[in-house]
């Protein structure tokens, strides 16, 4: 990227933020507070009063839900990928389950587990399970048959083939599924906190809105945006590291 473009990429966002800032100073719309008010509310709430009481619980629930959803998805996805019969048998069930808009199961989870951490984690796990399952299955299936047959003719055991041939070859697809699962997980985290919770960032945002605390609501929206942005960024970095061999191989091939 030339310096000219880098300059443009810094200039335009700065201009946009500055324009919004000065426009907001003269805002007469009730739900558009002034820039300084939002910054004030942001530093009051998120530097660092509510980090421990809201941000950390949100984050832990996200991690727990993702851990359950992803590990289930990968395991079941491998089973489906390795056995076309099982995959064919459960194809309609999976297709249906992944078509259910995940927030729709929240009322059931709230009935079963009550309002609280368990139903929130369960919702995140349910929602992230399907994209991971499907991309794992597709990844395992699209492994070059030549690789599998070669390892078979060399007498490599089935377990070793799965571990050292199929799993690495399927990793790029699995990672693509994880990326979807991550952004879905964040969305479900927010939804579950808005519907039933007594803490969390989503709870804070909806509560601010109910109390007509507009700077607080905007501060909450900003921090949710930052969470989404930073987690995506972190995922990209980890992905580049984990898949360095894959990108390297592709660069050589092209």
């Amino acid at each position: 990227m030339s310096n000219r473009w880098r300059f443009l990429e810094l200039l335009v966002p700065t201009l946009v933020v500055a324009t919004l800032w000065f426009l907001s100073l003269r805002s007469t719309i009730f739900y558009v507070p002034t820039g300084p008010d939002v910054v004030g509310a942001f530093s009051d709430a998120w530097l660092f009063d509510r980090i421990g009481s809201d941000l950390v619980p949100s984050f832990l629930r996200l991690v727990a839900g993702l851990a359950i959803g992803v590990s289930l998805g990968v395991v079941v996805g491998f089973v489906f990928g390795l056995s076309p019969r099982v995959a064919a048998a459960y194809h309609p069930v999976v297709e249906f389950a992944r078509s259910v808009p995940a927030p729709a199961v929240l009322p059931v989870l709230v009935l079963m587990f009550g309002i609280g951490t368990v139903s929130q984690v369960a919702l995140i796990a349910f929602g992230t399970l399907w994209p991971v399952l499907i991309s794992t299955k597709d990844g395992v299936r699209s492994v070059d048959p030549l690789l599998v047959e070669t390892s078979r003719s060399f007498g490599v055991s089935r377990a070793t083939t799965v571990r050292s041939v199929i799993a690495p070859a399927a990793t790029p697809q699995i990672v693509a599924g994880l990326r979807t699962a991550l952004s879905l997980g964040i969305i479900l985290m927010v939804i579950s906190e808005m519907v039933g919770s007594s803490n969390g960032v989503g709870y804070f945002v909806i509560q601010s809105q109910r109390q007509f605390d507009m700077p607080g609501m905007w501060a909450g929206i900003v921090i949710l945006g930052l969470i989404g942005y930073l987690l995506n960024l972190a995922f990209g970095l980890v992905e580049r590291r984990v898949l360095a061999w894959h990108h390297g191989a592709r660069a050589v091939a092209s």
Partner: protein, 280 residues
């Protein structure tokens, strides 16, 4: 650039898995799915009957099915489905218009691409549901909120896909258009749009399920009329069979929309190499 992913692989995978025969079971393709569904339903019934889950919160299939039948015969359900679909359609339409226009401009002009990229990259990962409180204040509890949220969330995949569709164009095509002095209008409508359509179609299909999820979420949280609100009412009334039946309806709706999108995509792109049947 590397932070964005282009999601075009999906339809090919779907097709591959559908075409692959199942070894050693000529009847398998027909009967296996039936057996699979039956086993899951049986398991559901058993888990409740044995008492692993509380039947007051998790009703057995045998009571959900009558509730579902009753629901399907009720015009109120179809009114709710209509409201949900309306939010989905309007939101998705706005997303298509905005996403395709912005995406194509970003794809065509390098300065615009660099000017808008940081803004897009920052707005895109914002969990759209974070805007629910804003939507409530700004638009109230009606259709506008649903449409706003669905449109916001589903613009990004379409925008990104449209942008890549244009940027992946063979540079020779631009050179040829220039040397033949092709007019702007025919360049846009005869070369650019057709080349980007496969990408845009994928974006629209991804966005369609996002839009549906957002519409149902806003109905659940804001309480705007539709399937989500009906679920809330069923939950508040303790009508769990009704609630499960509604979730099944929502799942069927999601499945049907996806099937329609896939089918439309295939029909629209019959001419495109990725969708042409291979003739040997």
């Amino acid at each position: 650039m590397s932070t964005a992913t282009v999601e075009t692989a999906e339809p090919r995978e779907d097709r591959a898995s559908r075409r692959r025969p199942i070894p050693g079971s000529p009847w398998g393709t027909r009967l296996l799915p039936v057996a699979g569904v039956a086993s899951v339903l049986l398991l559901w019934e058993l888990v409740v009957r044995v008492g692993l889950v509380n039947a007051t919160y998790f009703p057995p299939v045998s009571t959900v099915v009558p509730a579902l039948v009753g629901l399907v015969g009720d015009p109120a359900l179809w009114a709710d489905v209509g409201l949900t679909l309306q939010g989905w359609a309007v939101g998705l339409l706005i997303a298509v218009v905005v996403g395709v226009a912005l995406g194509m401009i970003c794809g065509l002009s390098t300065p615009v691409f660099h000017a808008l990229r940081p803004i897009i990259e920052f707005l895109r990962p914002i969990p759209s549901v974070a805007l629910i409180p804003l939507a409530i204040i700004a638009f109230g509890a009606g259709m506008e909120s649903k449409v706003f949220l669905a449109a916001f969330a589903s613009t990004w995949p379409i925008l990104v896909q449209a942008m890549y569709g244009i940027r992946d164009l063979d540079p020779t095509q631009f050179a040829v258009m220039r040397s033949y002095r092709v007019s702007w209008s025919s360049a846009v409508f005869r070369v650019l749009v057709p080349s980007a359509v496969p990408y845009i179609a994928t974006g629209v299909r991804i966005s369609s399920s996002i839009a549906l999820a957002l519409v149902v979420s806003s109905e659940l949280i804001i309480g705007s009329p539709g399937l989500g609100q009906a679920m809330n009412i069923a939950r508040a009334a303790g009508a769990v069979e009704q609630l499960f039946a509604l979730i099944i309806v929502a799942g069927c709706l999601g499945w049907a929309l996806n099937a329609v999108m896939l089918r439309g995509e295939r029909r629209l792109l019959r001419w495109h190499p990725s969708h042409r049947e291979v003739v040997l």
